[in-house]
Amino acid sequence: MSFFDNLLLGWELVSNIESFLALAVGVVVGVIAGAIPGMSATMAVALTLPFTFALSPITGILLLLGVYKGGIFGGSIPAILIKTPGTPASSATILDGYPLAEKGQAGKALGMALYASCTADLISNLALILFAGWLASFALNFGPPEFFTLILFSLTIIAGVSGQSLLRGALSALMGLLLATIGLDLVYGTNRFNFNDPNLMGGLNFIAVLIGLFAIPEILTKVWDPRGNDGSTRQLGGNWVSFAEYRACFKSIVRGSVIGVFLGSIPGIGAAPSAFLSYSEARRKSPNRENFGKGELEGVAAAEAGNNGVAGATLIPLLALGVPGDVITAIIIGAFMIHGLQPGPLMFVTNADIIYGLFMGLIISSVILLLVGSVAIRAFRFVADIPRGVLFPAVLVLCVFGVFAVNNNIFDIGVMFAMGGLGFLMLRFDLPAAPFLIAFILGPLLEDNFRQSMLMSGGSPDVLVRGPITWVFWTMTVITVVAVVRAGFRNSKQATQN
């Protein structure tokens, strides 16, 4: 089947009211969640996951993708209006967005954020459509040793760039890998840390772990500091962005989108570094560079383009290799698993209709984001007024219902609370949660591919360096470790000098 046949097949799958509705509802939920300080796109995607049980696979995944896209844009609204980024990736938007709001041009800044987001989102989705299939066909040649080295590389880069130091990221990833060993052994079926408890024999429930790690710590943070995250909202002002202003920023938007696509397709980098890199490149190349940081519209455009350019590209490693690129795609992998689907190169052969359906859905989501975003900017006042004292208890109850619904098991609620406590401690001790969750998901895959490789070779480690693909991944792993360690030494040296 040709590429265009597949796209047509995908279009047939999503050209129905349920899919459009799922995307629209997802984008609305995402924008609202992203716009509420204290909530985040990650939390919104995690909380929406249980609602996909009742939906068909494609509708459920489109709902989550809508939340993802909406959440990333939604984060820019409080960043501009109350100087509080709704998502970490929106931090770069504050640099010029808030000064514009102080000048009474919040409407202009938000308008540019929306247009830059939608443009970058579209470019990112097109990159996904073009590259994911190609990468998947290449990955069909991978055997267990290749997958082992790929996952090892992904975990190394995720551990290296997610937190403040490689060691803390590595510790977080190792904890995730250890937690993934709970349950019956993959080969011999013997007990591993399950102490004959039937609740633990299948391992810990993935959704209980992820909701525990990403939603409960936010509630505990609110308990810790009930008066945090309150800010005063700026007025939108009468100004709106003009086409000439959009055209003037177009170069920076495209550059930011390309940076986002490149960084997003590498597992673990995420949206925040992309937004800052795009912003600094725009400042370096702009004739108005002196105005950056004081309320430059191009700065908002560049930051938002870098931020949203990642959204489609993070799905490239997820769909083509089965490796989640960041936390949100790690949650989305859960939706695939719930519906009995395993993302990866084989899915392009066995479920090509779903893959191409998702591609078409993503393109539609860019248009929906434009429509919903325009309304959301004007409606932010109402979103900002949602009382946190009611919102957070509601989130807790939603978490409990959602986690119970996965397996109809009260034990999972306990797991979620325990993981929430761990997540809160990790937050307090600056241990990044992203490597933990991604390692927890990839742990069984890593071990399984390692043991399969050893079975293939009769226990000889030579199989792990058997060909050029494994060499490339080993080299990239070593380069990542060296680069992260060097950066760490440089930072500590600078800190000592200061």
């Binding site: 060691l167 007990n191 840390f193 810790w224 004292g389 208890p393």
Partner: protein
């Protein structure tokens, strides 16, 4: 808590966890068949590798904390965020109360059902985080669990626990 203290805490906990896994967790928590010829295929191998790496990383964190020590003793406390600096007993007390609420919530679910356990839990958390809208919180505490029950029980087909007293349709 300064960055160095955090590092010392994390590193120490990692080394202790590694030792615990090697001497207690793995020997007593994992069973392996006795006739495995190749050690790398044993169910013990992977957890042992992970325990070893956790210990090594913990040591690395302790060493880097020690290296940073001299420079940071003068500036200790300066890298604290406002939130961390205001780590008062009240914060810990609220956290302890929250823990009790969560434990009671969990224990109450099989006894009175998910919906009826959620209502007091909602109200308790709302008051714990000092809600400025107590009436809205109480109304939401009743409505939110009922709406979620309606969705999960009647749309998603989940058997929501009903408890031993009042059963919902």
């Amino acid at each position: 808590m300064s960055s160095r203290h955090k590092q010392l805490g994390i590193g120490g906990a990692a080394v202790l966890s590694s030792a615990f896994l090697f001497f207690v967790g793995i020997p007593y928590g994992i069973s392996a068949p006795s006739n495995i010829r190749n050690i790398v295929l044993s169910p013990l191998f992977w957890p042992q590798i992970l325990a070893g790496l956790i210990g090594l990383v913990g040591l690395g964190i302790l060493v880097s904390a020690a290296r940073a020590g001299a420079g940071e003793t003068v500036t200790a406390g300066q890298d604290q965020t406002p939130d961390q600096a205001q780590s008062e007993p009240g914060n810990w007390l609220r956290l302890a109360v929250m823990t009790v609420i969560l434990v009671v919530y969990l224990a109450a679910v099989p006894w009175i059902g998910l919906v009826w356990a959620s209502i007091p839990a909602f109200i308790a958390v709302a008051f714990l985080i000092q809600t400025r809208h107590p009436k809205t919180a109480v109304i939401a505490a009743i409505l939110v669990p009922l709406v979620l029950y309606a969705f999960f029980a009647h749309v998603a087909g989940v058997a929501v626990p009903q408890g031993e007293f009042v059963r919902l349709p």
